[in-house]
């Protein structure tokens, strides 16, 4: 067969295919979480600009952030960001296979080795580490911000 790629059969996909099933829609919402990632960066840069400009501008930023529509956007952004974090962390073991080195497996007790098929670190452990890191980072950032100006 030497048919060119352009002549190969392609099944027509409806333009808004992701509205057809709940699972497709959830997938699309997960992908759209990236828009709120960009918003969060923009918001952070606005905050840092205001901080760099001094007290008057910082207060102006705080007043702007307290407008109802800005709070609403940020509440929505927070929901999407948490959605991103949860889906990202839960997918991590599928994207990354972690194996215990053979030399270490040889030293480990049989009861543990039996629980690690082919030396693979179980998925739930990778997910758990991600959530621990999330709590850790959040606590450090929140702690630094709160103590910095109190």
């Amino acid at each position: 067969m030497t048919a060119s790629r352009s002549r190969a059969y392609r099944q027509a996909v409806p333009r808004l295919w992701w509205l057809r099933r709940r699972s497709y829609l959830l997938f699309m919402l997960r992908e759209l979480s990236c828009v709120f990632v960009a918003w969060a960066v923009l918001f952070l840069l606005l905050l840092l600009t205001a901080v760099g400009n001094g007290r008057v501008d910082y207060q102006r930023f705080l007043d702007w952030a307290a407008k109802p529509w800005v709070i609403a956007v940020n509440a929505l952004a927070l929901a999407f960001l948490v959605f991103h974090s949860v889906t990202w962390f839960n997918l991590a073991p599928k994207a990354m296979v972690v194996r215990v080195p053979k030399q270490m497996l040889a030293l480990a007790p049989k009861a543990i080795v039996r629980r690690l098929p082919e030396g693979r670190v179980p998925g739930w452990l990778i997910v758990a580490q991600n959530y621990i890191a999330w709590v850790f980072v959040s606590a450090i950032v929140a702690g630094l911000v709160m103590w910095s100006g109190s």
Binding site: W18, L48, H84, S85
Partner: protein, 118 residues
């Protein structure tokens, strides 16, 4: 979509992945504090001198810069494919890519300027 060999593609996936991790770890707490908790008055926001001192620290600035740049490229990569697949406009890949990665690059430069001015 075109299947031309593009050696830059794996690198873009790497940025997407690294940005996904940093965004997942750092951004929720930032938006929670400055977007929801402080505006609603649950607790008072940090005062200017303290926050300024924190953000002006070299280590803080490096971390924030990394989070900003990689998160922006995470957005660019994911948004590119969301638009291409979601609207079934794969043939416009080039235009969409220039917009997405161009915006991420511009945002990264903006972040650099903002962080150097603090």
């Amino acid at each position: 979509m075109r299947r031309r060999a593009r050696p830059i593609e794996p690198f873009l996936w790497l940025l997407f992945s690294a940005g996904g991790v940093l965004a997942a770890l750092f951004l929720p707490v930032v938006v929670l504090l400055f977007g929801v908790v402080y505006p609603l008055g649950v607790i008072g926001p940090p005062t200017d001198p303290g926050l300024h001192a924190l953000t002006a620290h070299a280590l803080t600035r490096v971390v924030i810069f990394g989070v900003c740049v990689l998160s922006l490229f995470h957005w660019a990569h994911r948004f590119r494919f969301t638009v291409l697949h979601g609207l079934q406009i794969g043939r416009l890949d080039r235009v969409v890519s220039v917009f997405c990665y161009g915006a991420a690059l511009a945002g990264s430069l903006a972040a650099l300027v903002v962080l150097m001015r603090i």
